[in-house]
């Protein structure tokens, strides 16, 4: 009557909790996962190949479409990698505006993470609240660059446009209400018994494993490693900002939740500092119309909301196209840790594990 053998289950590729088209092959012993193998590639568009066949400027629109929840952060890494390749110094005002928009983007990305993660686990209400605040950030994106999601916010060498008039008011209004919004989310979740039951001690990943598997971002910091590229290798205007890198040592889903919530507070602090200390001046460096590279290779990493996003570019002498364009997508590397986190746990908890990694399949498959 009862069968003792293991059962194979496919989670996805069309499962709502996989945040895109991720397929996870699971082998189950009862409800316990004994083997887990993520299968990716369903969204592979060949971004790297496309960018190698376009000019340096044209690659940006593809970076928007990798991690579409944090397009600005992708743009920033791309722009800075190109600037490193050509040796461009960006005006200070542009650096500040970039830093500010990047932090807004971190808020938007973390909010969408909070909303969907809570929804996966079963807390519906937070979804609606988080999307309410995210809407304001998208409105600001729209005010700045005309588009909400795929921003194409920056240019190599700075910005295309300065901040629009009245932007300051939007920011002040947002910053005034955001702390109370954060409290609202925390009231709903932090001490919620069901939320804690579903997250405390679930999907653990120790610091040693995380470093060995190359995991970066909040997942690494929740394991007690204070590695944040904004502090470790400062870029944009982060060297001039005063902020803290929150860490926790529990290394479970709940700790990652707390780390991300604290990161949102720090982001709001950075935005405030950017607004207060915004320098005057130009926003664009002097560049030729066509950028022609010399033989050079650069790897530039920045702290995206999901972890370290790195761009590896190789320039060919006299060519207007990158010879090699490679993206180190944080989600791609972080997803490697999923078997480590899920194996030995319950099948219901793999949803929490996928959610806590904060993956976007658009960037994993590129």
């Amino acid at each position: 009557m009862f069968k003792n053998e293991e059962m194979e289950v496919n989670l996805g590729p069309q499962h709502p909790s996989t945040h895109g088209v991720l397929r996870v092959k699971l082998r189950l012993d009862g409800e316990t996962i004994t083997h887990c193998r993520p299968m990716i590639g369903y969204l592979h568009r060949g971004v790297e190949k496309i960018c190698e066949n376009q000019t340096f400027f044209q690659g940006q629109v593809w970076t928007d479409r990798m991690d579409y929840c944090s397009a600005v952060a992708n743009n920033l890494g791309w722009a800075e990698a190109n600037e490193k390749l050509f040796g461009i110094t960006v005006p200070r005002r542009a650096q500040y505006i970039r830093t500010m928009l990047n932090e807004f983007n971190r808020l938007a990305s973390h909010l969408i993470w909070l909303a969907t993660h809570a929804l996966d686990i079963g807390a519906m209400t937070v979804f609606l609240y988080a999307f309410r605040e995210r809407e304001d950030i998208l409105d600001m994106n729209e005010a700045f660059c005309g588009s909400r999601l795929t921003t194409t916010a920056f240019r190599i060498g700075g910005l295309r446009e300065d901040l629009p008039p009245g932007f300051e008011k939007l920011v002040t209004k947002f910053l005034a209400k955001f702390p109370s919004c954060l409290e609202e989310y925390e009231n709903l979740l932090s001490e919620n018994r069901i939320w804690k039951k579903r997250t405390v001690g679930v999907a653990k990943l120790s610091a040693e494993d995380a470093i060995a598997l190359g995991v970066t971002g909040p997942v690494l910091r929740a394991a007690g490693v204070p590695y944040d590229i904004r502090k470790a290798f400062p870029y944009a205007a982060y060297a001039e900002m005063d902020f803290e890198v929150p860490t926790k040592t529990e290394a479970d889903t709940y700790a990652r939740y707390l780390v991300r919530m604290e990161e949102m507070r720090q982001s709001a602090r950075i935005i405030q500092q950017c607004m207060d200390g915004m320098p005057e001046g130009p926003v664009m460096a002097k560049l030729p119309k066509i950028l022609r590279a010399e033989v050079n290779e650069v790897y530039h990493a920045t702290e995206a909301p999901k972890g370290e996003i790195g761009y590896y570019l190789v320039g060919e002498k006299g060519s207007g196209n990158p010879y090699r364009f490679h993206v180190r997508a944080p989600g791609f590397i972080n997803l490697q840790a999923l078997p480590k986190m899920a194996e030995g746990g319950l099948i219901a908890d793999i949803v929490a594990a996928i959610g806590t990694l904060d993956i976007v399949l658009g960037e994993i498959d590129r």
């Binding site: 590639g41 190698e52 040796g87 033989v295 290779e297 790195g310 490679h326 180190r328 498959d365």
Partner: protein, 292 residues
């Protein structure tokens, strides 16, 4: 590791095996234009280039002066006005904010330490754009990675990124494989680089850095470099039965069939020609200017 399983894109004369097999090499109209240069950053190459350019410049100047002397003597003999003396050309200074980062002599203690420890296995060390690059011989890769991971002075804990580049124009190698190491405790980055020829299978880094697992699968999938002792050397992004390796430079960027020319090689306006033909079939005259 047998070489039978290795894909050999340019030397497969057989016809496509089925309707879904993408044998781009057999396409009748396609002539893939491969890159002619090898943009591999290197201090040795850079120094040689600078020296050659300076010598050429000097030779040109000498010739200009000699020509002037001849012309002057000739003019004097004929009783004409002396010609203008030549002016040495000064390199034009562009009015922009570009400051190209050239390769520099290695100064960083990490690079010097690596060279001390590995000796002749290090092929080159240099710095460029503030980044440290160490090129080691392809056989001693694992040793170099072990050293970076375990040496107390180096202590690079994390392999942040690993990728490869295809250089079809190079002699002696076909790919460069780069390893971007990060030391979290020391806040440093290092790039290890090896050059591998076609068909060579380098040692997998998974034993030292488990994060190399998917990255090496991606390199195999995209560029066709197989890694020895990898636990799971399968394709990761493309389907298992995919033909070819998309990030090689001989892989076309457009589909099989009607759009058979890549934008890179469209020098003679063939894409425009095809567009004209298509428009003609549809009864649209693209050549005629729009009526105001």
């Amino acid at each position: 590791m047998s070489d039978e399983t290795l894909p050999q894109p340019s030397e497969t004369p057989e016809a496509p095996a089925g309707p879904y097999v993408y044998d781009y090499a057999a396409s009748p109209q396609r002539q893939i234009v491969l890159p002619k240069t090898v943009p591999l950053p290197s201090l040795v190459t850079y120094v040689a280039e600078v020296k050659a350019a300076a010598e050429a410049d000097e030779a040109k100047w000498q010739k200009q002066q000699a020509d002037f002397e001849v012309a002057k003597a000739k003019a004097e003999a004929e009783g004409k006005d002396a010609p203008k003396p030549p002016v040495r050309a000064v390199p034009r200074k562009d009015d922009n904010d570009l400051k190209t980062p050239w390769p520099q002599e290695a100064q960083d203690p990490d690079l010097l330490h690596l060279q001390d420890c590995l000796g002749g296995k290090v092929e080159e060390i240099f710095e460029q754009a503030g980044e440290l690059t160490c090129q080691v011989s392809k056989e001693s890769l694992l040793e170099a990675l072990m050293l970076c991971r375990q040496d107390a002075e180096l202590n690079y804990e994390m392999l942040a990124d690993q990728t490869a580049t295809h250089y079809p124009a190079a002699t002696g190698f076909a790919f460069s494989v780069v390893y971007h190491l990060t030391s979290i405790s020391r806040r440093k980055r290092l790039r290890l680089r090896i050059l591998v020829p076609e068909g060579f299978a380098p040692e997998s880094a998974v034993a030292v850095y488990p994060s190399a697992n998917w990255m090496e699968r991606e390199i195999y999938d995209m560029l066709g470099i197989r890694f020895v002792n990898h636990p799971d050397m399968t394709r990761i992004l493309c389907p298992e039965d995919w033909e070819g390796h998309p990030l090689r430079k001989d892989y076309p960027v457009v589909g099989w069939g009607q759009r058979d020319i890549s934008f890179r090689e469209d020098r003679g306006g063939r894409l425009e020609m095809i567009a004209m033909q298509k428009a003609g079939q549809l009864g649209i005259n693209l050549k005629q200017p729009k009526a105001e």
